[in-house]
């Protein structure tokens, strides 16, 4: 059985301008949403605060829960339902970390049991101090930045044999970022600036493949973060794990296509570059669609069956996988093409 006929020939490269516009629009919407909501919605992991997950046997009124919370001094917390409808679980979230030693969770449980008239069961409590939250935010950004740089070294080395050059570039960037980070600069801005500088440096040193790949990755991450922001979901530690996975997966995809391009360039170097690239994409189409489908199928299982925390995680992965597949075809390859064109 075969979905994709072997002689398929869709003109992907021809449609790259439309794709570019679509991508740009989605990215602008994403960034717009982030700015409108003043940043991503941080979970307790990153913002500090307290989170309590409560389960009832039957649906409880949120206002009853809030009355109960008022009794123990948590009246200002946000309450929302969590997970699927039938589990009757709620998340209580407040910004102040409660340093509790006075049987706090028992007090909360009793207060809620009496205010809602049902037995309340505390499933999970998370309390994170503000300093820890900020430390984690910074660590997350650094982690993603380092991952991107290491990946750059690998790609530049494998595809253009520029191991040493890319190694030096990466080392210098890491060093610069580290030194600047000691100076109390706002970390997110530092990392964003570093990324821009990195791309510029790639351009100067002609690390074409790396640049194509990295732009595709940034594209995917921004879209995923943006859609998360649009749908008002929280950013927690597992979501960062999802982002790093998406980076790995999208790269997977991009490399498969690049590999084919490189192979075809060697074999058919008389053909025009865009024909070559198109051909490569078409040849790998079968594999790309298949892998995306199987991975998506599995992640959708997680999404539906995994329970509250895994649900958001799977959601991020679904967006990321789709974006990753799209970006390998419509972002990374066109950049490669534009590069070659500008050189000749």
């Amino acid at each position: 059985m075969q979905f994709i006929k072997p002689d398929i020939n869709i003109d992907f490269i021809g449609k790259r301008k439309i794709a570019f516009v679509v991508s740009l629009m989605i990215i602008i919407i994403s960034i717009g949403s982030l700015i409108a909501k003043s940043g991503p919605k941080y979970g307790v992991d990153f913002a500090g605060g307290t989170l309590i997950q409560i389960k009832f046997n039957e649906p409880a009124e949120i206002k009853d829960i809030k009355t109960g919370l008022n009794v123990v001094g948590l009246g200002k917390s946000s309450v929302q339902s969590f997970g699927s409808q039938d589990v009757n679980e709620y998340l209580i979230r407040t910004n102040t970390p409660i340093t509790t030693s006075e049987g706090f969770t028992i007090d909360v449980q009793e207060a809620l049991t009496s205010s809602t008239g049902q037995k309340a069961e505390i499933r999970r409590v998370e309390m994170v101090g503000p300093q820890v939250g900020q430390d984690l935010r910074e660590k997350a950004l650094f982690a993603m930045f380092y991952a991107l740089l290491f990946i750059t070294i690998y790609i530049s080395g494998r595809f253009e044999l520029k191991w040493i050059l890319s190694g030096i570039v990466a080392a210098v960037l890491i060093g610069a970022v580290y030194v600047l980070s000691l100076f109390d600069v706002s970390i997110p801005i530092l990392i964003a600036a570093a990324l821009v500088v990195a791309l510029f440096v790639f351009w100067i040193f002609e690390l074409k493949y790396a640049m194509g790949a990295i732009v595709a990755l940034i594209h995917d991450v921004v879209i995923t973060v943006g859609i998360f922001s649009l749908s008002d979901k929280e950013f927690t530690l597992p979501i960062i794990a999802a982002l790093l996975t998406i980076i790995g997966y999208s790269l997977n995809d991009t490399i498969i296509v690049f590999d084919r391009i490189r192979e075809n360039l060697k074999k058919f170097n008389r053909q025009a570059l865009d024909t070559n690239i198109n051909k490569s994409i078409n040849e790998t189409l079968s594999r790309t669609i298949l892998t995306s489908l199987t991975t998506l199928a599995v992640v959708i299982c997680l999404f539906l069956l995994g329970g509250g925390i895994i649900h958001d995680f799977a959601f991020a992965l679904i967006i990321g996988i789709m974006a990753g597949t799209y970006s390998s075809v419509f972002v990374a390859s066109p950049i490669l093409l534009a590069w070659h064109r500008s050189k000749s």
């Binding site: 530690l237 790269l251 299982c301 329970g307």
Partner: protein
């Protein structure tokens, strides 16, 4: 014959499956078992401060002994001791400092006829003190948790002054936190009988004393009240002199008490203090809270004392644990606390496994439909993959968390990728016209590099995540890394073996793909 080696390797990994081999099993993370995760920070600055306070006390008594008059000894900025003396006494003080206070650094300035000394700890000494404080805190907390009786607790240092504690299966989190976080500084201090506690409450506090409170719970009304005491700042005896602390029951009132035993030096000191202060009160102070302040009836020798108070047997038991394990050298602050109830843990396991099974079945069925015979080979490789990951987790004693299960499930989806790459190549080669055997050979050849490239990049992301993540996320990085490595093995080596078996040994002529 190179093929036999990996097979043996695989068998070894196979044997370390969960439940099968007693030696190693898979650790479950807190989010799957239920339990408590705490991150504490040791306030090392206070350790330095406490040290300087002791220095200041000793200096005071030394100056009195040597009859060096001073205009004041004060603690400045929590780190330095400032002493003001006559200029004529400068040499004597310098000698004293050199002889008795060797580790300290001192400097002085002269103003008129007075000299002002500033004494502090050099940086290296202070850093050493802080490091020792953290290590001692770690040991003390470990001792306490040992006595508390938690199975397989995980206590370790995180960074320079943070302590990470994981207690699986804990349900009484309040008790655990109290036990761990209590500074437990036990002091025997005399009540200041020479001054009036009420005058002190109005603001007139004599310099050598301070106001501390005793908390009393009225048995009938259950209401708590605080009684102020004027207590001398200087401790006559501390918990450092304890050799044992036990719970005993008061025969008369049937109430629990904690009986203390002192070491020889402590016993002698106790005897002296009680002998010199008959008919005065000696307050038993724990973490600056007065537990009781009984009257000294007569000199007490024998080195035993009793702490009474309105606590339950369990509280007395916990108090004894904490006194036995010793005081924390500096207070600790809870930075992060995550607790997962056991019911959530079980639910998570159930859901995770359900997703894995259903996802797995979907993929397996699809592979057979799309690639027929070759699909079966890929499915077999997939199952081996999962077994290898499980074996790897057990072998490395890694922890399986809920995101870790998600990582395994993700690997299922991505492992298929490698096989798809190879099979698509094989189909391509066969379309060009190669024989099945040559097509398989060429397919594997061409695809190997691509598969390596793609998987190495995922591995890089997973390794970065491993470095930076904590707890559940680290579990995800572990299973993802294991998954990538094992899927490389099963796709490139294992499935190739099977193809070769059929094509070379069984000499099958066509490939069902």
């Amino acid at each position: 014959m190179i093929y036999i080696f990996p097979t043996i390797d695989m068998q070894l990994n196979n044997k370390e499956q969960p439940d099968m081999w007693p030696g190693k099993k898979i650790n479950l993370g807190l989010d799957l078992q239920g339990g408590m995760h705490l991150v504490l920070e040791v306030e090392t600055r206070k350790a330095v401060q406490a040290h300087m306070e002791r220095v200041s006390d000793e200096l005071k008594s030394m100056l009195r002994k040597e009859r060096i008059r001073h205009k004041g000894i004060n603690l400045v900025g929590g780190k330095q001791v400032s002493v003001t003396i006559q200029e004529t006494d400068v040499d004597r003080l310098n000698d004293l400092l050199n002889n008795e206070f060797k580790g300290l650094r001192s400097d002085y300035s002269v103003d008129d006829t007075m000299a002002n000394f500033l004494i502090d700890l050099p940086e290296r000494e202070a850093a050493y003190l802080e490091k020792m404080a953290v290590e001692q805190a770690l040991e003390t907390i470990r001792n306490r948790i040992d006595q508390f009786g938690v199975s397989e607790p995980d206590i370790r240092l995180q960074g320079e002054k943070r302590i990470l504690i994981q207690l699986p299966g804990i349900s009484d989190t309040k008790r655990a936190k109290d036990l761990i976080g209590k500074t437990a500084l036990l002091e025997f201090r005399l009540v200041d009988e020479n001054h009036d506690v009420n005058a002190a409450l109005n603001g007139d506090v004599p310099p050598e004393s301070e106001i501390l409170y005793q908390e009393i719970k009225n048995e009938e009304t259950n209401r708590k009240s605080k009684i102020p005491f004027l207590i001398r700042k200087r401790a006559s005896l501390t918990g450092a002199s304890l050799t044992d602390a036990r719970v005993t029951i008061d025969q008369q009132y049937n109430r629990p008490r904690v009986s203390l035993s002192f070491d020889k030096k402590g016993a002698r000191q106790f005897e002296r203090v009680t002998g010199e202060n008959v008919n005065k009160r000696l307050a038993i102070v724990l973490d600056n809270v007065v537990y009781s302040a009984p009257n000294i009836e007569s000199k007490i020798s024998g080195g035993n004392a009793v702490i009474t108070g309105s606590f339950t047997t369990q509280q007395a038991h916990d108090l004894a644990i904490v006194l036995r394990a010793g005081a924390l050298p500096a207070p600790v602050v809870v930075l992060e606390e995550r607790t997962v109830g056991p019911s959530l843990g079980l639910d998570s396991i159930r859901k995770g496994l359900a997703s894995m099974v259903i996802g797995g079945i979907l993929v397996i069925v699809f592979m057979v439909i799309y690639y027929k015979g070759a699909g079966l080979i890929a499915d077999f490789a997939l199952i081996m993959n999962i077994i290898l990951i499980a074996g790897g987790l057990a072998a490395f004693q890694a922890t399986l968390t809920l995101p870790g299960i998600a990582g395994i499930i993700l690997t299922i989806g991505m492992a298929v990728d490698a096989n798809v790459l190879i099979f698509e190549r094989i189909r391509e080669e066969m379309t060009i016209g190669k024989t099945p055997r040559a097509a398989v050979y060429a397919g594997y050849n061409r695809a190997t590099l691509t598969i390596l490239d793609a998987n190495v990049t995922t591995l890089i992301a997973a390794l970065v995540l491993f470095q930076f993540g904590t707890g559940p996320v680290k579990g995800f990085a572990v299973t993802l890394s294991l998954g990538v490595i094992s899927s490389l093995f099963t796709a490139l080596v294992l499935s190739r073996l099977i193809f070769d078996y059929f094509l070379i040994i069984r000499k099958i002529k066509t490939v069902s793909i």
